[in-house]
């Protein structure tokens, strides 16, 4: 540490924010390095100079408190109701996530049953667990009966209809939940912005000064 300057630590040392181990290292370095010692001295001097700027004569706390009391508006919402709303508010994303998981599990379960039936591992009595399996087949079989579909095209139509129906309903559910979740996040962000007034501090503003 003694070979290089430690200017990055001098501020932190001055403010008493360094760990005891680093304090020892900095103090040892300050004894040896004149440049860092000057830096430290200059920063300490600056702190002293800043204290020279006086505060103006201020209004008494009693008078200020009464002025504020006169301007206090009625409370918009009681705290208890607010708390209940707050709990309900946080239950929304949890509920959405639970719904998404439930739907995913249900679809996965349905797929496993369907595959099991196809492969002969599960009997057809488990068909109740499939998503509209019978209804899905009814429409295409009706088309087949009227001679509109036949042979391989009937099989293909049955398969694609079943696939489309499953995927479509799955996507619809997921998109709906995602949209609800997104809406909740937008509202949450807007509420956060409203809780503390003002904008981020980065933007510049020209100050006024009182003589």
């Amino acid at each position: 540490m003694s070979e290089q300057h430690i200017t990055q630590w001098v501020n932190t040392y001055l403010d008493g924010e360094l760990s005891s181990h680093l304090v020892r290292l900095v103090e040892t370095h300050l004894v040896e390095c004149q440049a860092c010692r000057e830096e430290f001295k200059s920063l300490r001097q600056l702190s002293g100079i800043l204290q020279e700027a006086p505060l103006p004569e201020q209004i008494s706390p009693e008078r200020f408190a009464s002025q504020v009391a006169l301007r206090l508006p009625p409370r918009p919402v009681t705290p208890i109701r607010n708390k209940a709303l707050e709990v309900g508010w946080w239950l929304v994303p949890i509920g959405l996530m639970a719904l998404l998981i439930l739907i995913q599990v249900t679809f996965a379960f349905s797929d496993w049953i369907s595959t099991g039936i196809d492969l002969g591992f599960i009997s057809n009595t488990a068909g109740w667990a499939l998503f509209n399996s019978s209804q899905a087949a009814q429409f295409t079989s009706a088309l087949g009966q009227f001679g509109l579909l036949g042979g391989s095209s009937l099989e293909w139509a049955t398969w694609s209809e079943s696939l489309t129906r499953t995927i479509f309903s799955q996507i619809t559910w997921q998109v709906s939940i995602a949209m609800l979740y997104l809406s909740w996040m937008v509202i949450w962000w807007a509420r956060q912005k409203r809780q503390v007034p003002g904008q981020p501090l980065e933007a510049g503003s020209q100050p006024t000064v009182e003589s």
Partner: protein, 191 residues
Amino acid sequence: MTAARVNEVEDLVIKAQHGDRNAFSELVHRHSQGVINVIYRLCGDSQLAEDAAQEAFIHAWLKLSTYQLHTSLRNWLYRIAINIAIDALRKEKHLASVELSERMAAPEPTPEGMLTSRERAIWIQKAVLTLPPACRAVLVLREYEELSYQEIASTLNIPIGTVMSRLNYARNLLRANLKTQLFNYVEVENV
């Protein structure tokens, strides 16, 4: 702060959260000086500081249900106050250039380099007010309110690393601005 005093403050907060205006007035009484000081250091105008402090307490009253007990009420109030002060400065931006030139023309140092204490105070205040607001807020909380880095970070809702870099930047800029007028003078005084 002692445990008894913390409990007392929390009792007042709970009462105020349930709509007790007297309890809130007691909290205003206790924290008004600190809040006004912070805003004054940020904007350099005592009237603006008082008005903004009133706004800050009114906002705190309306949002008191969002304040979490066991956290620092002072820092929560400072946070509101700083944001309101920055907003107030933005609104008064059009006045700034006029006021700076008319009311706060920095004194020219005499050939001897000697400044009166009032002139020195004006130089210091002017130098602080030329800092970017974000850095100024960190500097004020550290130098005048003596908050720790952690407290500043939670008050301004920024990481500790940002507190350190803003403080470092503010101090370097101040030293550069004040070097000619004040540092030389201090050195002369010390001789």
